[in-house]
Amino acid sequence: MADLLFTHSYLILLFPLLSFVTISLRPVQLSPKMAGRFAIGCQGLSMLYGLAVAAAYWQTVIGQPQLYPARSLVCFDLAWLNFSPTLTANMGIFLDPISVMMIVVISIISFLVNIYSVGYMKDDPGFARFFALMALFSFSMLGLVISSNILQMFVFWELVGMSSYALIGFWYQKPSAVAASKKAFVVTRFADTFFLIGIIVVSFYTQSFDFQTLNSPETAALLDHTFMLGIVPINLLTLATILIFTGGWGKSAMFPLHIWLPDAMEGPTPVSSIIHSATMVVAGVFLTARMFPLFAASEVTLAVVQFVGAFTALFAAIIAITQKDIKRILAFSTLSQLGYMLFSLGVAKMVTGIHPGAEINPLGYSAAMYHVFTHAFFKCMLFLGAGAIIHAVHSNDIMDMGGLRRLMPKTYWSLLTACLAIGGIFPFSGFWSKDAILLAALQSGHYIVCAVGLATGGLTAFYIFRFFFLTFHGRARSKFHDVRENSWMTFSIMALTIPTVTAGMLEHLFVSEVTVPGLAYTPNFSHPLWLPTLASLAGIAGISLAWTFYGRGRTEAAERCRLRIAPVYQVIYNKFYIDEVYLFITHKIIFHGIAAPIKWLDRHIVDGAMNLIGEFLQQGGKAVRLLQNGQLQLYLGVTTLGFIALLFLGR
């Protein structure tokens, strides 16, 4: 039974693909309504199958550790491209704890978001197109997480990027949406280039794309040699892993490649919810986790991961405090949470063949995966709730809202759980996962990172409750018409409260089962009790501060405070001018400083030479063309005369 399920595990992918093909290519004519129903049906089937596979995986692979020591399973692996006799790219399905966890998360969230979208996208002219693209996204994201090798993963990686591009620019009539989709595309593609180079470097040296081969200590040992690039010593292992990580860097929108994610909120809110918070942006974290044994072999890479994660966590949280657009707040919050996951991965340590005797502490890995899991649900819900609000009041600005508690009670209570979860309040899911992350940082001795995590936790609680109070409490700051909750939408939101509240119970499962691949080592999960206490205190402090400033929908205190620190506020509000810096670099330095001289060279020197040749030929042609007077008969006469001459000469 289980074998049969695994053999046909490609069906998880096939249902969304079927839905995409059916809706977009229309072999049968579907009305938009039917298209939506069809897409939901396909997602539902995919979810059921995914859950069945997960259950089977739990029973066979986890339940029988003696049979599956690596705790992973290759369902099938077909040769796809033969690059050389020794290098073959496969297409396969690979199940291990993190991919099964991701299947569960992605299929459940896709299903719920699809249901939600029926309400949200109602009356949109692109209704059917939306569902087709969502199905394409589900297909590619599921394909990404179950890839058996890095090249297949890259293929789906790009597919995911493509569907994200299409969905950000879904309302292509809006110039801002088009610009945002272009920006997302360019930035992630920029990062993916390095990813591809990394793949090429790694596969060149190891003659393999397969994750199991790449993650083996032998690979790390093979790659670990230093060569000199000029006078700079470069370790190949570090270079390759950082190149690969750059892909995740861009996809997970870490500083300084984070600029595309806030703009990506131009897309429809369900899209932001599933792609730009719950699943796709996690791909970077997932990639790091997937390649973790290789990454862990290089100290430098892990340090980079850790630093980038920690910095982005704090940086994004600070920006989120000042934002007024409801979706941007959540976008920066997403950045911040992704930072958490990454630094958690960065603080994990493991033994590899080349660093014998190094410290072993894989807790960070488990914690990161756990946070991926919990974050997906509560962040998805936050976005769905934000979407419901936007749908109801037709505005993105939280300054225009307020007092929605009475009008949207179901949304209010559901969102409250999500806000408490992200704020790290006991006993909601976010508390447990953040606690695990902080514990991991503390255990591995990265006290600064741990402190950053704690501070970010406080900031998170503050900005999320700022959003919450300004939206739901106090009096309405502008007039709303006809605010109503849509049952399609509230169903999904309320369904998501279940994992948000209860995911905390899974902590021990994650810590003991979702561990670094190939490492039979249960992390040390003994708590110093002061750590969760401190984290909770930070969260409660953030909430209290938010209540003081914004409780009952007041904004005067906050306004006074803002005026006092106006210059700093301005800097933060403008996101530290990162976008402007980018513009400056691209326009002023690259366009004017580098491209313009090259252009001049091309126009005047290269083209000039070509023009000279052309001119010469033209003058020659002018001389010759006098013979061509365009009269057919002259041509034929001359030809005939020539033929006659040949006749006589040839005798």
Partner: protein, 176 residues
């Protein structure tokens, strides 16, 4: 004897009609003369026992090509307006001279003693329609299947090309 007489009669007709076809000032009369010359040619083919070629000549040339030509002439000449565009004077003489030179040159060339021409008096058996059909479709080294297919593709391409060229571009051309 009879057949020689017939042959010379046909040849005379053919040459005369061809001359008329190229020199009659009115194009339509030229085309009619051409029809006549094609009929004479078909008769010659029958004398050469190439029945199918003769029938194709009638069907393709007279039934297709000449009708095309007539349609072109009718479409491009107004009513009662004659197509009198022949070159005049010196040019005409030059054309006649060139073609006469060509004829003399060619005749001189074939007047050389040649095995092929002298000994080629053996008469073949009549070529039937079946022979031609089987040869056209044969795939062995004597077969003509490849030229046949190429010709069919050429026909298709020519038709498509003709449609594309003749289609009215509304933007560019002024209609009177």
């Amino acid at each position: 004897m009879m057949s020689d007489l017939l042959f010379y009669g046909l040849v005379t007709t053919l040459v005369l009609l061809s001359l008329l076809a190229v020199s009659l000032p009115n194009l339509l009369h030229g085309a009619i003369a051409l029809i006549g010359s094609f009929f004479a040619t078909a008769a010659l083919y029958i004398m050469l026992q190439l029945e199918f070629v003769a029938l194709s000549q009638i069907m393709l040339y007279i039934g297709g090509i000449i009708i095309f030509m007539l349609i072109i002439i009718l479409l491009t000449s107004g009513l009662g307006q004659e197509n009198r565009y022949m070159v005049k004077g010196r040019r005409r003489a030059a054309g006649a001279g060139v073609s006469a030179l060509l004829l003399i040159g060619l005749l001189l060339t074939i007047s050389q003693p040649s095995e092929t021409l002298q000994k080629a008096t053996l008469r073949a058996a009549p070529v039937t329609m079946d022979d031609i059909g089987f040869r056209l479709m044969a795939t062995n080294k004597n077969g003509f299947i490849i030229p046949f297919e190429i010709i069919s593709i050429l026909l298709l391409v020519a038709l498509v090309g003709a449609v594309v060229i003749a289609r009215r571009d509304n933007g560019q051309e002024q209609e009177s």
